[in-house]
């Protein structure tokens, strides 16, 4: 096995394991033997005995769609996180750096303050508003940070941070003034899948695929950007145009991911770091590895979120930070190549 393929093998193995865990574990215990019969049965089309029908329904209609949604969300957040860190050459960068999360949160809470009719579009109001809010914020921050033709990195970060505080304050104010259920807004802001079925998966799939597809092709650009903007420009890279493209691609994937799953922190920050510590800083590898490992990591977090207090669920964002932070610190302490930035 060559050194190039080994990291892929490890992360794919981790992802496969996470998918299996996510399908096998839930608040209803399904014996492994039954699980196997259901899975093989659904492929071969063999009829299942009556007592297994409920289990089969739970797996195909509840666990499978949720697993895929969480997988896509983790992939989008972690892939975008890797791209953002490369783009800003900043270890603190995560997909929410320039306001995607706060914009999405504001959109979602605004939509929740209105009593929508119970219909398809009424139920789509919150995810749609958060998606639009996230993208609008990124465009606004980008426009605010512009100086002449250039968009300096520092300006982007500062404009993003300032706008995030503004939107965050507005969100908190709206929540305090709302007469309705605060719980709904809080659980959205803390992250976690709220709608079931394949609808959400199919809705976000195109955006995540386009966004992550562009990021996967941008590895070389990100590598060049590590020399600094001037150097990259001299090497023939159209720096500002490429940066805008990567920024938009990462924001698109992130906005789609948060629209149904809420704001899940930390995955987009630490998974790229762990990948970098373990497998090096070449972005042609770092982006795909982060995507695979991020999907797996969020799946594991989701399994923990729905099994620790079963049948209650803990918001996913709490689990990612609670479990992710100690794990990351452990990796950081053990890392041999400390000067990796």
């Amino acid at each position: 096995m060559s050194r190039r393929t080994l990291p892929y093998l490890w992360t794919l193995l981790f992802l496969a394991l996470a998918v299996i865990l996510s399908i096998a574990i839930g608040s209803v215990f399904i014996p492994p033997a039954d699980l196997w019969r259901i899975l093989t049965g659904s492929f071969s089309g063999a009829a299942l005995p009556e007592p297994l029908k409920t289990f089969a329904f739970i797996i195909t209609s509840i666990r499978l769609p949720r697993t895929v949604l969480v997988l896509l969300t983790g992939a989008a957040l972690s892939g975008s996180g890797a791209a953002y860190q490369g783009l800003f050459r900043n270890p603190l960068a995560d997909p929410y750096l320039i306001g995607v999360a706060s914009g999405a949160g504001l959109g979602a809470v605004l939509a929740m303050s209105i009593q929508w009719p119970y219909s398809f579009w009424g139920l789509m109001a919150v995810p749609l508003a958060s998606f639009v809010g996230a993208l609008l914020t990124v465009f606004l921050v980008y426009a605010l940070a512009r100086v002449g033709k250039a968009v300096p990195k520092t300006n982007l970060i500062l404009a993003g941070v300032a706008f995030s505080s503004f939107a965050g304050a507005l969100t908190s104010f709206l929540m305090l003034r709302s007469t309705g259920e605060l719980r709904r807004a809080i659980s959205w802001l803390l992250g976690g899948a709220s709608q079931a079925g394949w609808g959400p998966v199919l809705t976000i799939l195109p955006y995540v695929v386009i966004g992550l597809g562009i990021l996967l092709l941008s590895g070389h650009t990100l590598n060049l950007l590590q020399f600094g903007d001037d150097q990259a420009q001299q090497l023939g890279l159209p720096v500002s145009r490429r940066r805008a493209l990567i920024l938009m691609a990462a924001s698109l994937a992130t906005a789609a991911a948060v629209s149904f799953s809420g704001i899940i922190g930390f995955v987009g920050l630490i998974v790229p770091h762990v990948m970098r510590l373990w497998f090096g800083a070449d972005y042609r590898r770092l982006v795909p590895l982060s995507i695979i490992a991020g999907a797996g990591a969020l799946l594991v977090a989701d399994v923990i979120a729905r099994s620790v207090l079963s049948p209650q669920e803990i918001p996913l964002g709490i689990v990612t930070a609670l479990v992710g932070a100690p794990f990351f610190l452990w990796v950081l302490r053990r890392a041999k190549n400390q000067g990796f930035w």
């Binding site: 209803v28 329904f57 739970i58 209609s61 929508w116 119970y118 709608q195 209650q312 918001p315």
Partner: protein, 311 residues
């Protein structure tokens, strides 16, 4: 062995038949086969049941209390984790609660009706509906009349119309009895109802539109929170000192607040209610859960506010 049993059984059957000949000649009326029940719920959804629900999952404590009160408790197979009344509800399996519901656990119970309430999100209703479950969303009532209607609605869904009619009748009589004593009153004591005072300079109290406010007024009190905005209104200590309530009701007594702990708060010792020891603990579930126990709450509040009238 077999023969030993057969004879006494046969004799017993004869005796039973002999004692109640009417049971043989006039059989009990045959129930109409699967009378379909169709109702519109709080989200304007049309919900159809093929007959009274037999396996019900309740997603709110108020729903659980309604179901038991109309005699449908035996049809419950699952509950949310805050459903703690009546006590036998505690033995039912839980399907989630405050931080989220587990659709998987609900499906595994094979309910023929999931009874949701105003505290549940439309997303949850949609998710359960997509899984093929029959969900009825019971809107939060805003008046006692609407609460009675809710009782009758749940009764229709579960086949307990007679019990519900009797229950509504007795609830109305109890409310009328309170009204009869309270309405002639000229003076109404100023009362402050505390929901939460984690920050004692800005406690929360019931404002207009809440059952807390409605019941306090109906029980013959002048609610300090009536002038505020929002069902759960935050009020500054300054306002409270100016209003100077004669009576303080501690809806947060379940969370450890007592008349003594109130005295230790800075600025609160100036209130008349504190000086005159007119501070009373109260079970907030009697006013916060929109079910039949609201009437218990009304009676208890009336007794607290006007002890001389209710001896």
């Amino acid at each position: 062995m077999f023969r030993k049993l057969v004879f006494p059984l046969f004799a017993l059957a004869l005796i039973v038949a002999g004692c109640s000949p009417s049971a043989i000649s006039t059989p009990t009326p045959v129930p109409t086969l699967n009378p379909t029940i169709t109702l519109t719920d709080g989200l304007n959804r049309t919900v159809t049941l093929s007959g009274p629900a037999k396996r019900i999952v309740s997603l709110a404590p108020s729903n659980t209390e309604i179901l038991y009160a109309i005699g449908a408790g035996a049809q419950l197979v699952g509950r949310d984790e805050t459903s703690d009344y009546p006590t036998q509800a505690a033995s039912l399996p839980t399907v989630g609660g405050y931080s989220g519901f587990n659709t998987e656990a609900i499906v595994a119970l094979h309910p023929d009706l999931v009874l949701a309430a105003g505290i549940n999100t439309p997303e949850l209703v949609a998710a359960l509906e997509k899984l093929g479950l029959t969900v009825f969303y019971l809107s939060n009532p805003t008046t006692l009349e609407e609460m009675y209607t809710n009782l009758e609605t749940v009764a229709k869904l579960t086949g307990h119309a007679t019990e519900a009619a009797a229950l509504v009748d007795s609830l109305k009589k109890r409310v009328a009895a309170v009204d009869a004593r309270i309405l002639p009153l000229n003076s109404r004591p100023m009362v402050y109802y505390e929901i939460d005072a984690t920050d004692p300079t800005k406690p929360y109290t019931y404002g207009p539109g809440s059952f807390g406010d409605l019941l306090l007024q109906r029980a013959g009190g002048a609610n300090v929170g009536s002038s505020l905005s929002g069902q759960f209104a935050q009020m500054s200590l300054e306002q409270l000192v100016v209003a100077n309530p004669a009576i303080i009701i501690l809806g947060d007594s379940n969370y450890g607040t007592t008349a003594d702990s109130l005295k230790k708060r800075t600025g609160w010792e100036e209130l008349d209610a504190v000086k005159n020891s007119q501070v009373f603990p109260f079970d907030d579930n009697l006013v916060s859960r929109p079910g039949p126990r609201l009437v218990d709450g009304l009676e208890a509040l009336a007794k607290l506010l006007h002890p001389d009238l209710f001896k």
